[in-house]
């Protein structure tokens, strides 16, 4: 009896160690379906046909999920189930996005930065568009890439009748995210970025920051996942990759690091 118990104990221990080891350290956080909790992995059951279902553990089964999508399974189920296919696929794509360049970045000017309290002036408010241009002449800026935050919704333009000329005592340095949240309005007064925080106004919440060299240029990039909050908000995740090439200064979008959107892909998947 005793050897049997010992064997069981050893087997359990081995399984626990193996399970712990199976969860890579750089696995990002996900939002679990149904509960909305912050998790490293989740289980999801999706329809493969009218009568079949399959359970996937994300991110472990991302490859299998992609295969099923290539087979056309993503069209099965009702509206919510189809959205769950998209969610699982999105999470897998995000993971793939972070890991698509296996080389370790040689230079890192991002990981020391506190993105959860990022100064607005440090961010390219509309990805791909210069902040000053955006604020002065938004029409000159290209549209934001799909799935990325559009900060122009926070802007109050010069011609806006309700714009304050100056906020007394306002410190441009104080226009920043606080604990991952910025809600309010931004505008320019005399070439100076100013903001008005308003907890009832729409804004953005930074949910997570992951680090990877997403474009393989040797510089480590920060990938922010954000969601729009306040009126008009929705729980959809927006992805904003950022990089910089010096310890100080503004962040920009890493070149050639477009974020892939939903749909089956034959790009290499992590094992």
């Amino acid at each position: 009896m005793r050897p049997f118990l010992l064997a069981m104990l050893m087997a359990s221990l081995a399984w626990t160690v193996e399970a712990a080891a199976g969860e890579p350290e750089n696995t990002p956080w996900f939002t679990a379906p149904y509960t909305g909790e912050k998790v490293k992995s989740y289980e999801i059951t999706l329809p493969l046909s009218r009568y079949e279902e399959e359970t996937f553990v994300i991110p472990r089964d991302c490859k299998k999920l992609n295969s099923r999508l290539l087979e056309g399974a993503g069209h099965w189920g009702n509206r919510v189930q189809r959205r769950l296919w998209i969610k699982a696929d999105d999470d897998c794509r995000y993971l793939n996005y972070l890991n698509k360049n296996p080389r370790k970045a040689e230079k890192d000017f991002v990981s020391d930065y506190d993105f959860f309290n990022a100064r607005l002036a440090d961010l390219p408010l509309r990805p791909g568009c210069d902040l000053y241009l955006l604020l002065r002449d938004p029409t000159a800026c290209p549209d934001p890439l799909p799935g990325m935050p559009d900060f122009s919704m926070l802007m109050m333009h010069q011609e806006h009748p309700g714009i304050p000329t100056e906020i007394p005592g306002a410190d441009p340095q104080q226009c920043r995210f606080r604990n991952g949240v910025f809600r309010g309005h931004i505008f320019f007064v005399d070439d100076s970025l100013q903001c008005e925080e308003d907890h009832r106004a729409p804004g953005y919440r930074i949910l997570s920051v992951d680090y990877a060299d997403v474009n393989g240029d040797g510089y480590l990039d920060a990938v922010l996942r954000m969601s729009l909050i306040g009126t008009h908000g929705r729980p959809e995740l927006l992805v904003l990759p950022l990089t910089r090439f010096a310890p100080e200064g503004k962040f920009s979008l890493p070149q050639g690091a477009d974020y892939p959107r939903f749909g089956p892909t034959d790009e290499g998947w992590l094992p």
Binding site: T31, P33, Y34, T35, G36, E37, K38, N78, R79, V80, R83, L84, K87, N179, G180, V181, R200, R205, I206, L207, S227, I229, G230, T231, H232, G233, R234, P235, E236
Partner: protein, 910 residues
């Protein structure tokens, strides 16, 4: 019936053996009798609405919960919550509990650092008053908690206990277990109690048991007093009690066999049997003692009782039985159970009476002494005569008085309001009612209704447009102030959306895509109370405290109208739920009431109509019985007594009982008229003879019904009050309206006065009635009269006005032409069965001859008016009669011609 009574008086031991055998058979089943009060049984069963509600419950789950109500200045103080958590865990482990919903389990839907957090409000117990305040503040924003499990402005909260579905639970077990659990919280919360419909039903059951204990002796006491005053004979007092006792035992046994429980309504049957069942016993015993007083021996007195009362007792039983049975016409379960049980009980009582009374009286009746001879003295006879004389003198005034009373009563009828609410039946002093009042005052109430909205298309309620339709209905209800808590799938999505948008309050998603995004974070099970699996059907759950049926009717009508006019045409909405079924039951109750009364009156008209061969006699017999119903409804209107589960039975039952007196009165009058042949004398004798039994049984019934006023259930109290009122008014009506009404009719028909031999040998063989059935002959001669003539008497005289037709029944009559010196030239002689006097009548001229009785003769006289009336109302019979008359006349003419010819031949020969 007469034979049965005589049979048991001849074989008393057989009768007693049957009683004993039945009693053993039913007593053995008694342990299976249940005391149960079910909300379902107060509703209309097996109808479309009920099926829809059952489907809704299967789809979305039950609406009703048991609330554990808690009040304390610091609701969320740690030590209180520690105790509460322990108690709720204990409650959750009870075998009948499915789950308990409280701040410990209801998710506080919020985001923490952008991630959804659905941990319950009390996942962690608050440590400081500030934390307590924060949790309460947040909980009060949640539409699924506000007014449902937490008061928005007072230190009151609740936990909802949801029972396991699809199982029938014992209310008493539930109530006791929850009470025991909640008692442990009383040192922390005051008040602290569990309240829900099991508590309501438990209290009703408890009261039923208590009332059986204290009302039953009262009913027996009332009966004993009535019996003592009326009969004053030990055995006569015991016999009604015995028959009532046996019938109650058999009835309870029958209920056990049939699986019908004792509930708030059927529980009054035993007492009713004591009260109502004794009336037949009293009539039979009175007749038996009357026979003894007339000097008859036991056996002969029993025979006379059987002969005189057998049919009457059977008829009065039938009408009372139908009165009780008619309550069973209702589609409400408790009412048809009552109709079935009470009518069966009455049948048992009738059986017990017709077996026990002759059996026991034949064995023990001789021991008794006459104790009430004084009542039937000359003074009483004089009083009856004076009373009848008074009635006749003031006939018009009395009719006007009754018409006035009827008009006043009718004016009160529109004021009647309806209430069919189980909670109301508890009365204002009930602790359960007080607890419900607290819930109604501080939370959203215990009553519920559901609005099921559906499109038939999947994913409908994943679209904002349709979610807004749900919100629109909810907003309308809120605006009208009908409910403090309406919840729907739209609310849940708004709550989730508000959490994701990090807003202070729930907000409806803006787009269909946003809804789909939100649905990722929602398991269908979490919202299965509000939306079905394919999102084609949604429920709005409305909690309310509307306890008046009329208010509920108004709310439902307005709500339905709003839905009809404002709901998206792609959607269909159906209002259902306990409240709706209760409301429909109210309608069923009212229609059942009118159906019962109408059916009963029709049956009374038919029975009495057949009995007296005149429908209008039946119609007149309903007058003294319909009048008390008008008075009763008027009284209800003016005295603010609602139509409810108790009062709805009163009219039909009371008519069923009251018509007995009318029947006794009319049948007695019939008998007396046969004997005296004088209406006035017959009426006086009827009043004289019936006054005592009818008044005393009525007073006994009134006393019996008044026993119910000692009950603690308002509907039963009102039932007793109205029952007593109807019997009392019917008593007056029977002694005022009935005599006046029937004195205008000829209740005793000529048919009754003719002997069977006369009918068979003369009438049916008369040429006048050739080819007519006996009933047609009867119809024709009903309004005729009989006249007796001695030998030599003139039936009519030459020159008299010709108004009558004569049918000779016995004796001989000759028709002759008056000659000089008082002589008469005989023209024709008539024998029994012959018709005479018709020629002058139909010629419309005065009599040309004399008609004289050659020997003592009996003549049936039919006057012109009677013949003409028959011509109008019975044309087929009249046609046959006239054909026969023509034939008769032709034959007489031929005889006359033959006679003339013979006379001519003789003359020529000379």
């Amino acid at each position: 019936m007469n034979r049965l009574l005589i049979y048991f008086s001849n074989r008393p031991l057989v009768g007693l053996g049957i009683v004993l055998a039945l009693s053993i058979a039913f007593a053995l089943k008694l342990p299976d009798l249940q005391i149960r009060v079910s909300a379902e049984e107060m509703l209309v069963q097996h109808d479309e609405e009920h099926r829809f509600y059952d489907r809704t419950r299967r789809l979305f789950g039950d609406e009703q919960v048991i609330l554990i109500y808690l009040q304390s200045p610091r609701l969320l103080e740690e030590k209180k919550l520690t105790a509460l958590k322990k108690v709720l865990k204990e409650v959750e482990s009870l075998p009948f509990v499915d789950r308990v919903e409280s701040l410990f389990t209801i998710p506080w839907v919020k985001t923490v650092n952008g991630y959804l957090d659905k941990k319950p409000y009390l996942e962690k117990l608050p440590k400081t008053p500030e934390e307590e305040r924060k949790i309460l503040e947040e909980a009060r924003k949640n539409p699924f908690l506000r007014h449902v499990l937490i008061s928005p402005d007072r230190d009151i909260m609740a936990a909802a206990v949801i029972l396991k579905p699809g199982q029938r639970h014992d209310d008493k077990t539930i109530t006791s277990a929850l009470d025991a659990a909640v008692a442990k919280l009383r040192k922390f919360y005051d008040p602290a109690f569990a309240i829900g419909f099991p508590e309501v039903r438990s209290e009703i059951v408890h009261r039923i048991q208590e009332e059986q204990v204290h009302l039953f002796p009262l009913a027996i006491g009332a009966l004993l007093i009535a019996l003592f005053l009326l009969l004053r004979q030990l055995i006569d007092i015991l016999l009604p009690l015995l028959s009532a006792g046996f019938s109650i035992l058999w009835t309870l046994g029958f209920m056990a066999y049939a699986g019908i429980p004792l509930n708030v309504v059927t529980s009054i049957v035993p007492i009713l049997l004591v009260i109502v069942g004794s009336t037949e016993d009293i009539h039979l015993l009175s007749e038996f003692r009357q026979g003894q007083r007339e000097g008859l021996a036991n056996r002969e007195a029993l025979r006379q009782m059987a002969k005189r009362m057998g049919t009457i007792v059977l008829l009065t039983f039938v009408t009372t039985y139908l009165g009780f049975l008619s309550v069973g016409l209702s589609r409400i379960s408790v009412l048809w159970q009552f109709g079935l049980v009470s009518s069966t009980g009455l049948l048992f009582n009738f059986l017990a009476t017709i077996i026990l009374i002759p059996s026991v009286l034949s064995l023990a009746g001789k021991w008794q002494l006459d104790g009430k001879a004084k009542i039937y003295g000359e003074k009483s006879r004089h009083l009856a005569r004076a009373y009848w004389s008074f009635l006749r003198r003031h006939r018009q005034g009395i009719i006007l008085l009754f018409l006035g009373a009827t008009a006043i009563s009718l004016a009160g009828i529109p004021r009647i309001h309806i209430n069919h609410n189980a909670i109301d039946s508890l009365g204002d002093d009930s602790p359960v009612r007080k607890r419900i009042a607290l819930v109604n005052e501080n939370l959203a109430g215990l009553e519920t209704l559901s609005i099921v909205v559906e499109s038939g298309i999947e994913d409908t309620f994943l679209k904002v447009r349709y979610l807004e339709e749900l919100a629109k209905i909810q907003a309308f209800i809120k605006k009208k102030g009908w409910s403090r808590s309406t919840t729907s799938f739209a609310d849940y999505l708004s709550l989730l959306n508000g959490a994701f948008q990090e807003l202070d309050e729930p907000i409806m998603p803006e787009s269909d895509d946003a809804v789909t995004e939100l649905m990722i974070f929602l398991k269908q099970d979490e919202v299965r109370s509000y939306v079905n699996k394919d999102f084609s059907e949604a429920r709005i759950l409305v909690r309310h405290d509307i306890d008046s049926s009329e208010k509920l009717e108004q709310v439902l009508n307005e709500l339905q109208s709003f839905i009809d006019n404002h709901l998206d045409p792609g959607l269909r909405a159906h209002i259902t739920g306990d409240s709706v079924l209760t409301f429909l039951a109210t309608h069923a109750m009212i229609s059942g009431q009118f159906e019962s009364i109408a059916l009963l009156l029709v049956i009374i008209v038919l029975i009495i109509g057949v009995l007296f061969t005149e429908v209008r006699v039946g119609l007149l017999a309903t007058l003294p019985n319909i009048f008390p119903v008008f008075v009763m409804f008027g009284f209800m209107g003016f005295m603010d007594i609602p139509l409810n589960i108790g009062t709805t039975m009163a009219a039909a039952i009371a008519i069923g009982i009251a018509v007995d007196d009318t029947l006794h009165f009319m049948l007695r009058y019939n008998r007396e008229l046969k004997a005296s042949k004088s209406h006035a004398a017959a009426m006086q004798q009827t009043i004289y003879s019936e006054a005592l039994p009818v008044v005393s049984t009525s007073l006994a019934l009134v006393a019996g019904f008044l026993v119910f006023t000692q009950a603690s259930f308002p509907p039963i109290v009102q039932f007793g009050m109205l029952g007593a009122l109807v019997i009392l008014v019917a008593l007056f009506a029977d002694f005022i309206i009935t005599p006046l009404a029937i004195s205008s009719l000829r209740l005793v028909t000529i048919w009754d006065l003719l002997s069977l031999q006369l009918r068979k040998q003369i009438l049916e063989k008369s040429l006048l009635f050739e080819d007519l059935h006996p009933w047609q002959i009867r119809q024709f001669i009903l309004s005729g009269s009989i006249q007796q003539f001695d030998q030599g008497d003139l039936v009519f005289r030459q020159g008299d006005e010709s108004n009558e037709l004569y049918l000779l029944l016995t004796g001989k009559v000759e028709v002759c032409l008056p000659a000089e010196k008082g002589e008469c030239d005989k023209l024709e002689q008539f024998s029994p069965g012959d018709v005479f006097g018709d020629v002058a009548l139909f010629a419309g001229i005065p009599r040309k001859t004399d008609a004289r009785a050659v020997e003592p003769s009996t003549v049936l006289v039919l006057n012109r008016e009677t013949i003409e009336r028959n011509l109008r109302h019975r044309p087929r019979i009249s046609a046959r009669i006239f054909a026969n008359l023509t034939k008769d006349l032709s034959q007489r003419l031929i005889r006359m011609i033959n006679k003339q010819q013979a006379t001519g031949i003789r003359t020529r020969r000379r």
